[in-house]
């Protein structure tokens, strides 16, 4: 899938302007960053500003809130289980803490809950560690070099990135706990990129005023995830993992406390009842809903399950009116479509240029500004690069990195991407990559406080499923930080709750019954839909049409 002859011709234009751009970069001359006013104007090109992409939620605690159609559709759906048909009196498992989700937040929570004396079950939809955390490439922010950086500046940057809408208490917790989170990861043996004397290497990310992005090659998230997963596996008596068993509904007991969840074994199709003294939702994001038909960088299971379950149980939603599009997702070759090309490429010096090889944007704007400017260049200005599949992209001029920082830098700093593109016969040390914004992150989610408590006693949330930390737009490197910081907090807080505050009582699904009634009362046409979605369906629709017996009863479907 090497570049087509047409694209090869266009690459010549990029090569022509490259030497001058490299010289400018060397002199420290950057394309001018946009002012706050300019940012406001450019954001009109952001998909969030398309009114037809959103609709009102008609039931529940955030009734009237306008968010992505795709999430609303799942909220306007019935439970997968019929509350009357389930006997909750004999739980299959009883445990101190149930954690729903086995990614970065869930696993951090499990380790901290255990440290605080709790026995834990992690219920996860796919395998332990199959999560967006695994895919995060660029790095993790923390103000660890206090001669030039401090949580003060980290706070300021995060607020500016979020357009000053972030919940201040949550940001304060994020930036203050950041060094501690990093130290914890270091002590578990995470292989961060370091100088020989032990100093952590750091770089810039979009919207940072100080170089505070710590990293482990270009697979920072994978390195963190496999390390904490390995640690969890070292405590298998205390942390039990149920794979391929997503939660489909929370259980609320007669005292009004969250008391576990109903799981669904994807393979045997059984429903399983887990009774827990405290429950943590760490189900991550929703990129696989493909808002406005955008491609996504997200892993297969990112389908908003936690949002749906907790919303039915009465937890409000916030900041879901904004969705993060990562400025640089691969658009060529087709097989790599949607694949994340880390912001670190820009941090390392690569320009973004249009069809004529001209720069049109400062490379380290906050993500929504960067993405909007790229969309405008393609759709408004008309200087996008046409791609065989009828789409457009712009160039990310990776070869600049080796010129600026020495031959071999790309292979050393971006081994994952180098090998990936090599498989497609593209050498990113010599040729630029074609990119376009891609659905990346759920900025908002469940409303929590700085202890990860939700409005439902006994229910905690941490990581991408929660909202408020990043306001309307997250900065690079604050999500790996978010899952670690708030995962840890949730685990500790839930362990404390399980010990002292939990009140036992009869298990019920009354909140589901109530939600169903409200749907009916509001005249919402659920059209036979059930949620959470659990997995997207990419199977061939023509084959689906021929699966005539999927709804029949019999020994085999």
């Amino acid at each position: 899938m090497a570049y087509t002859p047409e694209l090869r011709k266009l690459i010549k234009r990029v090569e022509k302007t490259r030497p001058a751009r490299v010289e400018r970069k060397k002199r420290g001359e950057e394309f001018p960053a946009q002012s706050l006013k300019e940012r406001e104007d450019i954001l009109k090109y952001h998909p969030d500003f398309k009114d037809e992409g959103r609709s009102e939620i008609r039931v529940g605690p955030s009734k009237g809130y306008k968010i992505s159609n795709e999430i609303v559709e799942l909220l306007h759906a019935k439970s997968r289980v019929s509350p009357d048909l389930l006997d909750l009196s004999n739980p299959d498992y009883e445990i101190d803490i149930l954690i729903i989700g086995g990614g970065g937040a869930g696993t951090s929570a499990a380790l901290m809950a255990r440290e605080n004396g709790a026995k834990v079950i992690i219920a996860t939809k796919l395998r332990h560690g199959d999560a967006n955390t695994m895919m995060a490439e660029g790095g993790i922010q923390a103000a660890t070099k206090n001669r030039k950086d401090s949580p003060y500046y980290h706070y300021l940057d995060a607020m500016g990135g979020g357009h000053f809408t972030n919940v201040p208490e949550l940001v304060e917790t994020l930036v203050n706990d950041a060094p501690l989170a990093l130290k914890w990861l270091e002590s578990l043996g995470t292989m961060f990129s370091k100088f020989d004397d032990g100093r952590l290497k750091t770089m810039h990310g979009g919207g940072t005023s100080r170089r505070r992005m710590h990293y482990a090659g270009d697979i920072t998230g994978a390195e963190i995830m496999r390390t904490i997963r390995d640690e969890a596996r070292n405590h298998k008596d205390d942390i039990r993992v149920l794979e391929f068993s997503p939660a489909v509904e929370l259980i609320v007991n007669e005292k009004g406390h969250c008391a576990g969840a109903i799981l669904y074994n994807l393979e045997t199709e059984e429903y399983i009842i887990v009774k827990a003294k405290a429950t943590i939702i760490a189900t991550g994001g929703s990129g696989r809903l493909h808002m406005q038909n955008f491609m996504t960088t997200n892993h297969y299971g990112a389908t908003a399950d936690g949002l749906i379950m907790a919303y039915r149980a009465g937890v409000s939603l916030n900041f879901l009116h904004t969705v993060q599009y990562h400025p640089t997702g691969a658009v060529f070759p087709e097989q790599a479509e949607g694949l994340l090309i880390t912001e670190k490429f820009r941090g390392a010096g690569a320009n973004i240029v249009n069809i004529d090889g001209e720069q049109f944007v400062y490379e380290r704007e906050p993500r929504d500004v960067e993405a909007s400017t790229i969309i405008r260049e393609c759709k408004g200005v008309g200087k996008g690069v046409p791609i065989p599949a009828g789409k457009f992209g712009v160039w990310l001029d990776s070869p600049m990195i080796d010129i600026l920082k020495g031959k071999g830098t790309i292979r050393k700093e971006f081994p994952g991407k180098w090998i990936l593109f090599k498989r497609y016969d593209i050498d990113i040390t010599k040729d630029p990559m074609l990119i376009y914004p891609t659905l990346h992150y759920q900025n908002g989610g469940l409303e929590i406080n700085s202890k990860c408590e939700t409005s439902l006693p006994g229910l905690y949330a941490g990581g991408e499923v929660s909202g408020g930390i990043h306001g309307e737009n997250r900065l690079m490197g604050n999500s790996l930080l978010d899952v670690t910081v708030f995962g840890r907090i949730a685990g500790k807080a839930a362990a404390g709750y399980a010990k002292t505050k939990f009140r036992d009582g009869k298990l019920t699904l009354d909140h589901v019954t109530k939600y169903h009634k409200e749907l009916e009362k509001e005249g919402v046409d659920v059209g036979g839909r059930v949620s959470p979605m659990l997995l997207p369906d990419y199977s061939n629709p023509e084959v689906r049409e021929k699966q005539l017996t999927t709804k029949y009863l019999g020994t085999i479907r």
Binding site: Y153, D157, F164, P168, G189, Q335, G347
Partner: protein, 259 residues
């Protein structure tokens, strides 16, 4: 209705004439799929809805280890289903799970030596040096070499060489000596990260500074600020140069630790 399905059929025909199709054999069963698809998308095109054997769809989680073979070839080839483009007449089988032993340990207590590794994974000595693991790695890692480095006690070398491992388990599935290479790999990486790489002193200081609430005053001020003032402070903040020296210091040191 019938009109719809008629036009759909026409569309299908049209799209098939423009799409180059290739035959592949999914667990021995033949399907014709577009030539540009990855193995993963070929399964889906054939009609599968994947539950096992599919994770990040981006080549890093290791859920979709796959083996395949061509007719008349003795070679077993490997790849990640989400990264490997189909080729005509591939016989494909995914290995979504393979039983593997994992030693349980307290990383704090361990010494970063070869004998730590060999004590936890004594079967490592069974390695016959056949190199099947290296040939089975979809990430092109020299697996056999990191195993021999681990045996030799070169923990740093093993950690570095195994760094790109996605833990898909293909090496383990094919190892005639029944080693679990990828678990040995992560053990060496954690030993390196915990015990060999020097600790970051500045990180420890930063944790201590937060603990002593040295930045609380500044952040409180920001929290109380009205939004216009906050925007002004934000816009006026100094930005560290992208390629400046590590020792760069800003003019304003009010909210930093300078001693």
């Amino acid at each position: 209705m019938s009109n719809n399905s008629d036009s759909k059929k026409k569309n299908k025909k049209q799209s098939e004439t423009t799409l180059e199709m290739v035959p592949v054999f999914i667990m021995g069963k033949k399907y014709d799929v577009p030539a540009t698809l990855t193995i993963q998308k070929a399964f889906e095109y054939a009609g599968y809805q994947l539950v096992r054997g599919c994770g990040c769809r981006g080549g890093i989680c290791g859920a979709c280890g796959t083996v395949y073979r061509f007719p008349d070839s003795y070679r077993i080839e490997v790849g990640l289903a989400c990264q490997t483009v189909v080729k005509p007449n591939m016989y494909i089988s995914q290995i979504p799970f393979f039983p593997a032993n994992k030693a349980v340990y307290d990383i704090e207590e361990l010494e970063p030596t070869g004998s730590t590794v060999t004590a936890l994974y004594p079967e490592i000595f069974k390695c016959v040096g056949c190199g099947t693991c290296t040939r089975s790695c979809p990430m092109d890692i020299d697996v056999m070499e990191y195993i021999s480095r681990a045996i030799r006690g070169d923990i740093a070398g093993a950690a570095e060489l195994s760094f790109d491992c996605v833990m898909c388990g293909l090496c383990t599935a094919r190892c005639p000596s029944e080693l679990v290479q990828y678990n040995i790999g992560i053990l060496t990486r954690r030993l390196y990260g915990r015990h060999i790489a020097k600790r970051a002193k500045h990180l420890e200081d930063a944790v201590e500074n937060v603990k002593q609430k040295k930045f609380d005053k500044g952040i409180k001020k920001l929290k109380k600020m009205d939004i216009d003032k906050l925007k002004a402070v934000y816009s006026a903040r100094e930005t560290e140069p992208q390629f400046g020296p590590e020792e760069w210091e800003p003019e304003n040191k009010d909210y930093l630790i300078t001693e």
